[in-house]
């Protein structure tokens, strides 16, 4: 029972169909406090759908989703702000939670966009917007953080820093994370549990187990399975004392 207290969301054999076509089916996994679960899979394999299942966005689903928390932050894959809405970054930060100015500043500072606080949200670049989305999500101090390709459009240097930040936040807050990422490097190095999707669960387990699974090799090609070993022998950077990456020049 003690383990049960750490479970934030549990999916049991869930699936959803639209126009009689199954988007995903038979998906089961759980997200625990302090753990990072990653969804991988080709385009159209149902990653975003699965995340939405876990969030309870889809109605009329097959199977069961048990939610044990209401403190959830979501970074959607796509979000478009209508021109009809005058909305500054600081207004957007307060969208679903009442935060102090201090909390807003701290979160924006962490993702490196504090200087944009009074800018209009629609004048940001793609990468800046992603940083604001992540800042808003972590400022809420959620129990569960769902990130759908959170670093899309972010520059290479920022990408690594943001993944490091996400990992640090999960350790500090002890929150569970559901991550969707195309970056197999990151997935394999920073994740506790991997779910490989292709309309159904292809294979799942620790990064090592998945990388060695034949179905994973089939889906991503032989090269993908070497990523783990590549990563393990990748020494083009060092870690500073606080765990952040220092790139060797």
């Amino acid at each position: 029972m003690k383990e049960n207290n750490n479970i934030l969301v549990k999916l049991e054999n869930t699936g959803v169909q639209v126009d009689k076509k199954w988007l995903v089916r038979g998906v089961s996994f759980e997200i625990q406090r302090g753990k990072i679960v990653t969804l991988i899979g080709p385009n159209g394999s149902g990653k975003t759908t699965t995340a939405k299942l876990a969030l309870g966005i889809h109605k009329n689903i097959e199977g069961k989703v048990h939610k044990f928390t209401n403190k959830i932050s979501y970074v959607p894959q796509k979000i478009s702000i209508d021109w009809t809405l005058p909305l500054r970054v600081s207004d957007f930060m307060l969208l679903t939670e009442n935060l102090t100015t201090n909390e807003i500043d701290t979160a924006l500072d962490l993702t490196g966009v504090k200087h944009l606080k009074n800018n209009d949200l629609r004048n940001l670049s793609g990468g800046e917007f992603q940083r604001v989305l992540i800042a808003r999500a972590i400022a809420k101090k959620p129990d569960l953080l769902v990130l759908d390709e959170p670093v899309q459009g972010v520059d290479f240097k920022g990408e690594i820093a943001l993944y490091e930040l996400i990992k640090k936040i999960s350790e500090k807050l002890g929150c569970g994370i559901l991550l969707i990422s195309h970056d197999l490097h990151v997935v394999m190095s920073a994740t506790d549990y991997v779910v490989c999707l292709n309309g159904h669960v292809c294979c799942s387990g620790t990064p090592q187990a998945v990388a060695n699974d034949s179905k994973y090799k089939e889906l991503f090609g032989d090269r993908a399975s070497t990523i783990l070993s590549v990563y393990e022998h990748d020494h083009d950077h060092t870690h500073s004392t606080d765990g952040s990456i220092e790139t060797k020049k």
């Binding site: 939405k52 969030l55 309870g56 966005i57 209401n70 959830i72 932050s73 979501y74 959607p76 979000i79 702000i81 209508d82 009809t84 809405l85 005058p86 909305l87 500054r88 207004d91 957007f92 969208l95 679903t96 209009d120 809420k140 769902v146």
Partner: protein
Amino acid sequence: MFDDFFIRALAAGLGLALVTGPLGCFVIWRRLSFFAGTLAHSALLGVTLAISFDINISFSVLLVSSAIALILLRLQKTTKLPGDALLGLLAHSSLAIGLVVIGFLSYIRFDIMGLLFGDILAVNKKDLLVIWVGGAIILLILKIIWKPLFASTVNYELAEAEGMQPEKVNIIFTILMAAIIAISIKMVGILLITGMLIIPAAMARNLANNPQQMVVLSIIGGILAVLVGLFSSMQFNSASGPSIITAALLLFILSFLKINKLRQLKK
């Protein structure tokens, strides 16, 4: 100095502007201009039903407009027609049914112009009470649901994921829209209530750079439109409802001029 009816008209108009200001902002943000028009059209059916069954007009309009709005929400989920087609379907069919029913009521002398354009100068004390009490209730509910409603306006799925219950607040908002139309139909009429919702908010959009500011400017714009409209209708003996909307339009045009000036100053 002023006649009683003019004071009552002012009080009614100002009460209306206080409520249409914030609601109008949501109409603009959610692209609901046509939706507001649909509800207003369906109000005609509400009025004719009120006369047929001898019930309170505001109450009857509230019921019919709410019903039409809820049918719309249902249809949006179950059919593959785009939203504007559904709105057109409901707007014109409810207007048509309303007109057909009026035809059967030929034994009653019926002021259809009054229905379409309202008569703010004919507002009595009971109407004033309905406007101010009803308006206060609408504003109070809007304040309570503000955060989830605004969140679901920005992004529905994000609001859903983070426990803001967007579906519930959408329904409440829809009923608030029906309610404002119900309490204002006698004053500005079916055709002009949409203008009162949209034009001051559109003016505010030209000037505001954040949501709160837009709501405040929208209210101020509505109040100015009522003041200018009513006083000029007295001065020039023009129809008061249309004068208010014309005043709102003038404010909108002025807000454009101001933006262009600001842009020039920046350069």
